[in-house]
């Protein structure tokens, strides 16, 4: 008998869609209705002339569920393409975060020092706070946020993952 593969994998899926009303609701509704996970989701129009948007979704599930997610996305009428960049392409994945830290004295200096190591940029400064901008792989942002936590972390805003393939070819 066939053994069911129950490993949970995380995949980044890039979906090109017609930029029409309701298209994002269709995608989100599909995930919610069929009980799939969304870890992050980013969406914006990427080709004004062609009216197409690009949705990057990070999702997790067993290999069978991941396969279903891609097939179900492909069924939606406004969807042009579905690319699983985790298996089909060597992809670059980046995320941006805005991080607010409040504090004075040694903690404030340490926050500045850590940010320099992570190449985070101060966007706003007061005598008792910073807002930093950091870009990187999601794991790098996780690490940075964890380091900031004891140094007076107030608030984090993350964009979710954007992904693109390496090399000269488009996806």
């Amino acid at each position: 008998m066939m053994q069911k593969d129950t490993r949970i994998e995380t995949h980044t899926i890039v979906v090109t869609v017609d930029n029409e009303p309701g298209v994002l609701a269709r995608v989100i509704g599909l995930f919610a209705g069929r009980g799939y996970n969304i870890e992050s989701l980013t969406v914006a129009e990427t080709d004004k002339a062609a009216h197409t948007s690009r949705i990057t979704a990070v999702t997790s599930g067993t290999p069978a569920v991941i396969e279903q997610i891609k097939a179900q996305l492909g069924r939606l009428v406004p969807v042009h393409r579905v690319v699983d960049v985790t298996i089909e392409r060597a992809a670059i994945e980046r995320e941006m975060a805005l991080v607010k830290v409040a504090g004075t004295g040694e903690k404030r200096v340490e926050a500045m020092r850590v940010s320099q190591v992570f190449r985070a940029k101060a966007l706003d400064t007061t005598h008792s706070s910073f807002v930093f901008e950091i870009t990187g792989a999601p794991s790098k942002i996780d690490a940075y946020v964890e380091l900031m936590r004891p140094l007076g972390l107030v608030e984090v805003s993350r964009t979710g993952v954007a992904a693109i393939s390496r090399g000269a070819e488009a996806m």
Binding site: D18, G22, A71, V77
Partner: protein
Amino acid sequence: MNQMNITPDAAAESLELSGSEIVIRALKDQGVRHIFGYPGGAVLPIYDSLFQDNELVHVLVRHEQGAVHAAEGYARSTGKPGVVLVTSGPGATNAVTGLTDALMDSIPLVVITGQVATHLIGNDAFQECDTVGITRPCTKHNWLVRDVKDLARVMHEAFEIATTGRPGPVVIDIPKDVQFKKGPYLAPNQVHHRTYRPRVEADDGAIRKAVRMMAGAKRPVFYTGGGIINSGPEASKLLRELVKLTGFPITSTLMGLGAFPASDPQWLGPIGMHGTYEANLTANRCDLLIALGSRFDDRVTGRVDAFSPGSKKIHLDIDPSQINKNIRVDLPIIADAAHALRAMLAVWKEEKLTSDPALPAWWKQIAEWRGKNSLNFKNSTTLIKPQYAIDRLYALTRGRETYITTEVGQHQMWAMQRFKFEEPNHWMTSGGLGTMGYGLPAAVGVQMAHPDALVIDIAGEASVQMTMQEMSTAVQYDLPIKIFILNNEYMGMVRQWQELLHGGRYSHSYSEALPDFVKLAEAYGAVGLRAQTPGELDAKIEEMIAVKRPVLFDVRVDPKENCYPMIPSGAAHDQMILSDAEDEPTVSEEGKMMV
């Protein structure tokens, strides 16, 4: 002035019509003859254009759910899309059950809903609801048309999407101001969706591999489904040829009945929870399962990890998302059924293949399973057994052009088991959603499309009361539909499960305070009949057939009869119960969780 410069020719090219005229024109250009609908404030302009048109035939239903089921019956029995026109708010929400039903069973429908004027959308206006939001998960696609310039394009795209690929229902929501505004009309050939391209042609390599697997199989079986019916009559013809050529046994899902003639010796009967013993055992023990346009529904597979455990599996489906959804398969083929079957036949002939010499031994085994006679029942001389009623209905309607619709429950399963379908498009039932109340309005739709045929709804007394109001529609349009009610005074399938799983505690499954169906028929202006003993059944059935008016036939059947054979939920195909006489079935705790 600008207008002065427009020549008559140019004016004709840029034909300007009101939104409501665009709707009517587009329907006619799409070849639509019949519409099922119900008017209301937000569709008045379209109804006004309909009033001024004398080609389209509008059928006024009594409830919007009835309109959608009627359109489903119309679509399934003709292969053409069903068209529905309803108003905003409650008109749209009442259509939701029908839309979901059509989505589950892949029925092509174009449903037009009125909407409040664009400037009122989002204001909680009278009879406003978020129709595209509500219907998004229960349609193949939907549109809110905010600009009359988009209307003609959307109308034609709607037909393209509803009828091609895996068919399904679509909704076009049209605000009232858009129905009044003037805009350009485009003909169907001027419109083609910019990205939607369903795949219909099969991959040659996959077909060749499939056919060789078939030639090498020692214990093969075809397991076909609604996809064959949806592909069109050609697919059924090709399927018959392939089944003859290979000599393989064939079973089908509930939705696939009629694609292969039930009178043929290669037919095993339906597969699944209430399928025949031989069909389920054949699927369980085969070494090659050839799934054609079927989707491994849980009602078919039973326990998935015990479903056909020793077989290689080929799965042909037009919808890629069906592959490996419930059951992992060895060879997927994404294509339209007719295309793929034609290609399979060509390869079989071209490579001069023959079936494996082990096939006769497989048939011998199947004959043994058949010997169980799993559809057998103990007849009675005093009580009408529901199985007997269906057997007599079948016997007395043979040789006629007969279309059968059903409601949902025991009567539906008995009809599936006992009524023998020889041709596709003659069996209309709610398979995926299991919608009680489907059969009566579906019969209205079927009879509209086939005025001279015999259209019978095999019903239960509980289901039929959910959409009984459509009797009034049947009377209004002189539709001589026959509602054959197997009245056991229970929601029979609910009662059967309560008996098997809940210690015989019949919680709210008794049909209390039933109407007198004969008087009810008369109140509607239809004909009422009743049979209480087996002796009077034949004469009453003949009377029902002879009457050229709508009939409600109250067939009083044995209230205690259960539907067998049955695979208890959570069990495997080789764990069928054949009758009440057997030991109490053991249903696992896990099985009880399943529906």
